[in-house]
């Protein structure tokens, strides 16, 4: 479902060009569970943002479900993000003024879904993450683990095909980090394509398919390794 072909992403820093992604070829099938590891600055976040259509490649082709999304307009890309992609960030990124329920509702509001359709979806998303009793709490009244669970509810309320998580446990203690990973994995078991960027080898090792990045390239891919072996 995700098909990256000869993707390059260069950043111009002063008179120097940084190759954040250097000729990436990557195929990820629907329903896969992929972890991306690698040293700092190796291009993990850049790759994830590109897959999530938050960033555009300098060159190369990106097919999402067979459709070339590199040439989509801003508006079409925004709609694609809204319907087909969910994000979970290290810093949660909840809107502080809004309650948990309102934060979860946000993607549906942006999609102009009528109120009466929104409410049951939000309630269901909160319930499946065990947050029903926190629906009307503001983010500041929630623990880190609860905040990340709200963020996951928000990312999944539109029932996207892909869930992208950039160090989802980076700001959490071990226990709540574990909870979050368990939740993400259970979502994957129900069919969502899950891609997790992490520094934690223990977490990265739990994925069925593991990518190692270095200097903008995919150094090892457990899928091709096992093929080769």
């Amino acid at each position: 479902m995700i098909d990256l072909q000869q993707i390059h992403r260069n950043f111009q820093v002063g008179d120097q060009v940084v190759h954040a992604l250097d000729d990436i070829d990557l195929h990820i099938a629907a329903g896969e569970y992929v972890s991306i590891m690698g040293p700092s600055g190796s291009g993990k976040s850049t790759l994830l943002n590109l897959i999530g259509l938050l960033d555009r490649a300098s060159s190369g082709r990106y097919l999402l479900d067979g459709e070339d999304v590199t040439t989509l307009s801003d508006i079409e890309q925004a709609a694609t993000r809204n319907h087909r992609i969910g994000f979970v960030f290290q810093a949660f990124h909840l809107v502080p003024r809004l309650t948990a329920a309102e934060n979860v509702e946000l993607p549906l509001v942006l999609a102009a879904m009528p109120v009466e359709q929104r409410k049951p979806l939000v309630a269901r998303a909160l319930e499946s993450l065990g947050l029903s009793d926190r629906a009307h709490h503001k983010p500041e009244q929630l623990s880190g683990g609860q905040r990340q669970r709200v963020a996951i509810a928000r990312a999944t309320v539109t029932e996207p095909a892909v869930l992208l998580a950039d160090e989802p446990t980076g700001n959490l203690d071990h226990k709540s980090g574990d909870d979050v990973i368990n939740i993400l994995e259970s979502l994957n078991k129900r069919g969502i394509t899950l891609i997790v960027v992490t520094h934690d080898p223990e977490i990265g090792g739990r994925a069925r398919r593991r990518l190692e990045m270095r200097d903008g390239q995919i150094e090892t891919d457990s899928a091709t390794e096992s093929q080769g072996a």
Partner: protein
């Protein structure tokens, strides 16, 4: 996104930053209130002057000796310099038109009044019985000047109520003889409390027949002739009739100026309207300043909420939606500020009206509408730049900055 959701999001955002919101509300409200108060003052002054002129009488024409260069009002005509005399015969000649309802000749002078040793200086008006009706004056006691020929110098006078109380105190004034200059006049009437005239308080004047005034001040000429036309439509024909008649009587010289009350009113109306526009415009500048403040505060808001903007983009907000969200926020703010400003301004006008009842301070509708329009437009216009900046933010950078 539905409009209701946009409005709700904007409202929650405004509530989320109460300090900033209050500051901008105040700036906007002050601007709008300034327009309302200043234009209401200008309008009040205009109405005050226009009311004063209306109190001169209805369908009134004023004949002034001397030809003014321009047809309108200028300082010379108002000062009443006298290059060629108007006479009682001139005044009589003006009654010979079907369209003229009544005329009143006018002589004005100043002299001492004496009664039983009490003395003060007074303004003496020489006129005829028609004056009462022309000026819509009322008597409180007695009769007005007798209906006799203009050249009959009857020794009677009508005194203002202030003169009466100063000279006579609680004593009966009607029938008493008082002395004006070196002549004696019998008091036959006392002016009612109503009745003003530009610059002169009727209550401080004494009125005598015009022929008596001519003797008293030793002059054959008149200061003014007041002419009342039968209707509004008759004002222009009467004006032509006056000019033609007096030209004929003055050996073909066009040596009088006829001003109509309408013309005077129109002139003052123009002056005060211009004044109102001017102060309104100056006040509108404060709206502009409020606009610049809004722009700055919105720019700060955008940079403070960078991560939130990045998030909205990640969740699928198109750039246009971000613009709409921020513009709505600014618009809502301007709207609330405008409402607060209108309430504040109208309240201040009310206080002014209560404190100075003669000044009908009320902001004209055009000023209120303009203030609303300008406030809303500046709010939108000045937040366009911040909103566009928000929409252009790179979501990756926006989300990674913490």
């Amino acid at each position: 996104m539905h409009n209701r959701d946009v409005a709700r999001f904007a409202l929650v955002a405004l509530r989320g930053y109460p300090g900033r919101t209050t500051l901008m509300l105040i700036a906007m409200a002050i601007g709008v209130a300034a327009v309302v108060v200043l234009t209401s003052l200008g309008e009040g002054a205009r109405r005050y002057v226009s009311d004063e002129f209306s109190s001169l009488g209805t369908n009134l024409l004023i004949v002034i000796p001397g030809r003014s260069e321009t047809a309108g009002v200028n300082p010379t005509t108002l000062m009443g310099e006298t290059p060629r005399d108007l006479t009682l015969d001139d005044a009589l000649a003006l009654t010979r038109s079907y369209s003229v309802r009544r005329i009143a000749p006018l002589n004005v002078g100043s002299t001492d009044v004496n009664w039983h040793g009490k003395q003060r200086e007074v303004t003496v008006i020489g006129t005829n019985h028609e004056m009462l009706a022309i000026r819509h004056w009322e008597l409180s006691q007695g009769k007005f000047l007798p209906d006799s020929d203009l050249d009959v110098a009857t020794p009677v006078c009508v005194i203002g109520s202030k003169i009466r109380s100063e000279l006579f105190g609680a004593k009966r004034a009607i029938g008493e003889w008082l002395r004006l200059g070196d002549r004696r006049f019998r008091v036959i009437g006392i002016m009612g409390s109503a009745g003003r005239s530009i610059g002169v308080d009727v209550q401080e004047t004494i009125m005598i027949p015009v022929a008596s005034a001519q003797q008293l001040f030793n002059t054959p000429s008149l200061f003014r002739i007041l002419v009342e036309a039968k209707s509004r439509a008759a004002i222009e024909p009467v004006k032509r009739f006056i000019v033609d008649t007096l030209q004929e009587r003055h050996q073909g010289e066009k040596d009088v100026t006829v001003i109509t009350q309408d013309a005077v009113l129109a002139t003052f109306d123009r002056i005060f309207s211009a004044l109102t526009y001017a102060v309104g415009g100056i006040a509108a500048i404060s709206l502009f300043v409020a606009g610049i403040l809004i722009m700055n505060v919105m720019l700060v808001a955008v940079s403070q909420r960078t991560a939130e903007i990045g998030l909205l983009k990640a969740l699928g907000a198109a750039p246009k939606q971000i613009v709409v969200l921020f513009l709505s926020e600014a618009f809502l703010l301007s709207l609330l500020g405008t409402v607060a400003g209108l309430v504040l301004g109208e309240f201040a006008s009310l206080l002014i009206r209560k404190a100075f009842p003669v000044l009908p301070a009320q902001a004209p509708l055009w000023a209120v509408l303009t203030a609303i329009l300008v406030a809303l437009l500046t709010g939108l216009l000045f937040s366009l730049l911040p909103a566009r900046r928000a929409a252009r933010l790179d979501p990756v950078l926006a989300l990674s900055r913490r």
